[in-house]
């Protein structure tokens, strides 16, 4: 592959919690590994390109989340690209959007159904703080910052993205996110890929279907090891 196309979906709506940084980290690490990468921002009013390799959804407030879903429903480009093997990382509100259903502005809404999860309004206590969770795909404890009021339950065909060791994750303090093939959902901000470069490399490997050099970016490594202690 000569160029990795990263599609940052609805950043003006889903950019409230810093998740736009995931796109920048992916492009940066791709270039570090010798692969060209481009970031394409797609707004609410634009059509989502069919030819992306990695798609990104971020965290948002309720009304923005609903607008993003409305725009995603206008076409099937994202779903078709994923069916063809493209990678999707969806964080927080984005994770809820790609599930079976979620709640926003006091009403239950049907999601895109890419992951077999349901999100519901949480209790009075909002899930806010550092979260640490072990990802079995990477055999690594990931870390990030969560800030959500909804809770998510996994359906029978869903697999947790990571097993929570501290924090709330999906709300039960046991699992965080969900994963199915190349579709990843999580509650972790940070942005997650800035604090966990190994996950960024996993997404790039999945998108390019080839292994990367083992050369490491020293600053990324030291940030990752320091962030593990936050």
């Amino acid at each position: 592959m000569s160029n990795i196309r990263i599609i940052r979906i609805h950043n003006e709506l889903l950019g409230t919690y810093g998740d736009q940084g995931n796109a920048e980290v992916l492009a940066f690490r791709a270039k570090f590994h010798g692969i060209a990468a481009t970031i394409t921002d797609v707004t609410y009013e634009q059509s989502i390109p069919r030819n992306g390799n990695i798609y990104l959804l971020g965290g948002a407030e309720d009304s923005a989340q609903l607008l993003s879903l409305e725009a995603l429903r206008r076409e099937n480009n994202l779903q078709e690209a994923i069916a063809d093997g493209a990678v999707l990382l969806a964080v927080c509100a984005g994770f809820q959007i790609i599930g079976q259903s979620f709640w926003a502005n006091g009403a239950k809404v049907e999601g895109l159904g890419l992951l077999d999860v349901e999100s519901n309004p949480g209790g009075k206590k909002r899930c806010v703080g550092e979260v640490k969770a072990r990802c079995s795909i990477l055999n690594l404890e990931l870390n990030g910052f969560e800030n959500h009021s909804g809770t998510t339950t996994l359906g029978s065909s869903a697999q947790a993205f990571a097993k929570v060791s501290s924090g709330y994750g999906n709300g039960d303090g046991k699992s965080d996110g969900a994963v199915l093939g190349n579709v990843f959902g999580t509650y972790m901000h940070g942005p997650i890929l800035a604090r966990n470069p190994q996950l960024a490399d996993l997404l790039l490997t999945r998108a390019t279907a080839r292994p990367f050099s083992q050369i490491e970016d020293p600053l990324a490594s030291s940030y990752a090891s320091i962030a593990r202690k936050y």
């Binding site: 003006e12 709506l13 950019g15 409230t16 919690y17 810093g18 998740d19 736009q20 940084g21 920048e24 980290v25 940066f28 609410y44 009013e45 407030e61 309720d62 009304s63 923005a64 609903l66 607008l67 502005n105 909002r126 806010v128 703080g129 910052f145 800030n147 009021s149 901000h189 940070g190 942005p191 800035a194 600053l219 990324a220 030291s222 940030y223 320091i226 962030a227």
Partner: protein, 373 residues
């Protein structure tokens, strides 16, 4: 417990806190007072003309400007140190005066409006800040709107180029909506009123539901945040009968000139994407120190660093320090901007010569640490 008795205990607590704990004494008395006499804010506001100032950025400098204006009318007390929760306000109101000008934290504004029945309230702006505490910008705006709608005797002065302020004021009984010609808002993609995709152009926003900055009562020229805050202070001051003051907007920026390690430094407080963007746009020196902490008042989540464009730093000599310096260094690294990572401000300044002029952008706790040292 009676108010007078509670006031005496609170004053004693403040005295002891200053003498023994060497604290500033701005929080403890109010905290003690509100514990002993929960309705103290209501009682202490009676027979006093009160003006409140709130917003994500610019509260302290606007409050200072407004206190200067109002003190032309009569004796005025103010919480000019930035102690802006309910207890800071209570401490301030323990001193008798004809007027009070209070800076109020965004989440405490509804309580202060309800309990102090202010003559006027200035609403500056709302944008993402300390999201671990504020959670969602829209929710803060909704709380403000609820408070505004139930205060029919208060006049609200707000910058409606900010859609959240326009929303908070949309049903106010008495208001002065001020527009500075419209400007981009990085959290303004969604209409806070109806949830539709907000339509923007060079002169601001308008929504099918009617929310717009185009119907302001007062229109002023565009300008810096400090200039806008000075204008809003004067408009509010005029409502209270204060003659206009021409402010030097440079003095309204929360910047402190100081020699650090013998080097001339200009230290500016930055705490969220909006204030970072404003400060970065105003950089003049080729030498910059960035100090990032992530304590409670700084915001304990640094994800927002990725919402800020640091392009203004390209080509400058940048040294990064603070408790979360690595978060900043990595963010700059990914943006392709070189920086030097240092442990603390002393070692950061060792990279500069005594003839250099250095601009320091410091997180909340770092700013006060540097200014006090």
């Amino acid at each position: 417990m009676r108010l007078n008795f509670s006031l005496r205990i609170a004053a004693l607590a403040g005295f002891l806190s200053k003498k023994i704990l060497r604290r500033s004494g701005e929080t403890i008395p109010g905290k003690v007072l509100l514990t002993l006499y929960p309705k103290a804010l209501i009682a202490l506001s009676k027979n006093r003309k009160i003006v409140l100032v709130s917003g994500t950025n610019g509260k302290t400098s606007t409050t200072r400007a407004l206190a200067q204006l109002i003190s032309q009318c009569g004796t005025t007390v103010t919480n000019n140190s930035g102690s802006n929760l309910d207890r800071g306000s209570a401490t301030t109101l323990m001193k008798s005066s004809e007027y009070a000008v209070l800076e109020v934290d965004e989440l405490y504004l509804p309580r202060l409006i309800a309990e102090t029945t202010p003559c006027a309230v200035v609403l500056l702006n709302l944008s993402r800040d300390q999201l671990h505490r504020m959670h969602e910008v829209k929710k803060v705006a909704q709380r403000w709107k609820n408070a505004v709608d139930t205060a029919p005797d208060t006049i609200f002065i707000g910058d409606v180029d900010d859609p959240f302020i326009a929303f908070a004021l949309s049903d106010a009984q008495k208001k002065i909506c001020v527009s500075f010609g419209g400007r981009h808002h990085s959290d303004g993609a969604v209409c806070p009123g109806c949830g539709k995709y907000l339509q923007w152009n060079s002169s601001g926003f308008s929504c099918a539901c009617g929310l717009t900055n185009a119907k302001a009562e007062v229109n002023r020229n565009p300008g810096s945040a400090a200039y806008r805050n000075a204008e809003l202070a004067n408009i509010a001051g005029a409502q209270m009968g204060a003659p206009e003051i021409i402010f030097d907007t440079k003095n309204l920026e929360r910047a402190v000139e100081k020699k650090i390690s013998g080097i001339s430094s200009s230290i500016r407080l930055v705490k969220n994407p909006a204030s970072w963007s404003e400060a970065l746009a105003g950089l003049k020196s080729a030498n910059v120190v960035l100090i990032l902490n992530a304590r409670e008042v700084d915001g304990i989540d640094t994800s927002w660093l990725w919402d800020v464009s640091f392009e203004a730093l390209r080509g400058k000599k940048v040294v990064v320090c603070g408790e979360r310096a690595i978060d900043m260094a990595y963010r700059l690294h990914v943006a392709g901007i070189n920086s030097v990572l240092e442990k603390n401000s002393a070692s950061a300044f060792s990279h500069f010569a005594s003839t250099d002029k250095v601009e320091v952008l410091a997180a909340y706790t770092a700013f006060f640490g540097l200014v006090a040292s």
